[in-house]
Symmetry: C2
DNA sequence: TAGGGTCGGTCAAACGATTGAACGAGCCTA
DNA sequence: TAGGCTCGTTCAATCGTTTGACCGACCCTA
């Protein structure tokens, strides 16, 4: 019972019109003038036969795939889950399908993807996470619009969308300042990540307002992982800093920071307050529940899609998404102990 | 500088051969007999021009998209992240691209996806997570091979791949038994989830070996969320069960279980041991670090892809992936307190 | 009644790759 | 030297849609 797939021609035959008519009806071509009853016949034929346009043929003809690509480092990282969610939603709203791939799996890599995507599989490409200059070079050569998401690209020709990380950091630090903290240290992210650099800048800026000096030993760097956070916190304690509060550059490191503080018999928030960027679902279930700054990561993903669809390969794109950020006040922050 | 895209014809012209030759070289057609120097010329032309086959044209001709679809409920759930990772890796290994979509977003739904996928966008479809009978009906009508992943489908015509959930449950409960526990209760998953039912069955089976009776009040049901787990645990305590150990059907609920135990001033593992299925990255960072049973979720995703690619729409597919499972012994389980 | 406008369609040429069939040039054999 | 075989390559139809160009019928107007 090998039912051949239904094509435009089948519909046209059933409706007694030319396939061109059917095509224009399907695509709501504004230049089409048609009698209501003819349109009715066509629509009926479509639904009777269960016609669905063949995407390959359409793509071939129009040179548009109706698909966008998003490459992330790792599906297991919840930060990317939010970006994906936002991007998918925006893509669907514009009638596009989103292909999300990870660049760190056993069989995957940027290169592998660029090969597989070939020509005409996607209309544009978004890269979240680290990318080498060589890869950016290769991207340019594809002739596709592309964009870095949550990372500034290097190079003179800019194509990126990022969030206002400095502002997020400020919100976090201001929260600590308002609670009365003055000895506030910072567990920063890796030097290579520009998000980490912007958050560190925001920390410094916020500390400047009440004119609290930030010494070198008030900042330690981790690699955005729990272990990295634990080590960075340990380093801060070892250096003799006796903070009443810690601003941590991401939640993964905050997990490690809490571990280290627990081992050092420092209670959170009684002895030390902890606040981190950004508000992952996980934050609520840590012990104590973590105070965070929620960043608009879904908006970031959505905005990337919109910009991508609106841009040509030659365009310059550089945007900072400034949707409101919010401090989520939970149990890990409190006023410093008196005295 | 609108450089026209490079096609087979361009390559053929440069190499001084017919485009048929180029096509066969690109696809490594075994029926092709060709002089080594000709092949060399072709390959050189390909690389000089940077030729990449047009996917749409190829799909149109071959009626194969080279793409598989995977629909999950939610990107933020780390369980699906593992399935995706496995599926992506297997798809790439077979030269296919994986399109992953979520069915619960603002603009997405099963239906929306089925429409968007149209005809010829994917060669097969995998559904992880709940699906209605109506949706299964619609899937059948697409004429595509499809498959439920980590869920048994209803209906007489089976298409599913699942894991051995009962075995996972047994491993967890046996671990508790070996530690010396006998008062072991179960926080089960929602009735609608067949994974939950299989895990409950495994719990009962394991308890039968040492002939420990399982009473109705030894099992409470949650909805696979932290809150659900917390409530189920509270219910168990209220019912007067004085367990020395809890087997929890998933990690999300275990988070809630730990909360409830903490609130009830029961120490873990001194007063109550807790073990859960499956080993998410998160488990290691809970307080105390959670003992779990690691299930081969990546294998599940990979196997689904392999089966999908090997099956026709009419085939029956029903497989239980039995890759070894492993108990991950952490801090939340210990022998029961003496006396 | 010739000329010009709508209306309501039809025609046919792309888009780029795949693939069965055909074909010419050598060479071998009888 | 004709016929057949192998080798290496070319020919051309085909996949299903899109879309600019064209066309016939009808009505209106001068």
């Amino acid at each position: 019972m090998k039912t051949r797939r239904v094509t435009l021609v089948d519909v046209a035959r059933l409706a007694g019109v030319d396939k061109a008519i059917v095509s224009r009806v399907v695509n709501a071509d504004p230049s089409l003038v048609i009698r209501p009853d003819t349109r009715e016949r066509v629509l009926e034929a479509i639904s009777n036969l269960g016609y669905r346009p063949n995407v390959a043929a359409r793509s071939l003809r129009t040179a548009k795939a109706g698909t966008l690509g998003l490459v992330i480092p790792d599906f297991a990282n919840p930060v990317y889950a939010e970006i994906i969610t936002g991007a998918e939603s925006a893509a669907l709203a514009k009638g596009h399908v989103l292909v999300t791939g990870s660049s760190t799996g056993a069989h995957s890599s940027m290169d592998r993807y660029l090969d597989l995507l070939g020509q005409g599989r996607v209309d544009g490409l978004m890269l979240a996470g680290p990318t080498t200059a060589a890869e950016q070079q290769k991207l340019e050569s594809l002739g596709l619009p592309w964009m870095m998401v949550n990372r500034r690209d290097t190079g003179e020709h800019h194509r990126y969308v990022i969030l206002d990380d400095a502002q997020a950091a400020k919100l976090a630090v201001e929260h600590l300042l308002e609670l009365g903290h003055r000895k506030i240290v910072h567990v920063a992210g890796p030097f290579g990540a520009d998000t980490a650099r912007r958050r560190a800048t925001g920390y410094r800026q916020a500390m400047r307002v009440p004119d609290i000096p930030v010494r070198a030993e008030d900042i330690a760097r981790g690699d955005y992982t729990p272990r990295g956070g634990a080590e960075a916190m340990a380093e801060l304690l070892r250096k003799g800093a006796e903070p009443t509060a810690v601003f941590v550059a991401n939640v993964a490191m905050a997990v490690g920071v809490l571990d280290t503080l627990r081992r050092a018999d420092l209670r959170v928030p009684e002895d030390v307050s902890v606040v981190a960027v950004h508000d992952l679902p996980l934050a609520e279930h840590l012990v104590p529940a973590l105070t965070t700054v929620r960043m608009p990561l879904q908006d970031l993903g959505a905005r990337a899609v919109d910009l991508l669809l609106a841009s040509s390969p030659e365009d310059e794109v550089a945007e900072v998404v400034r949707t409101a950020m919010e401090l989520v006040y939970r149990e890990s922050t409190a006023p410093p102990a008196a005295g």
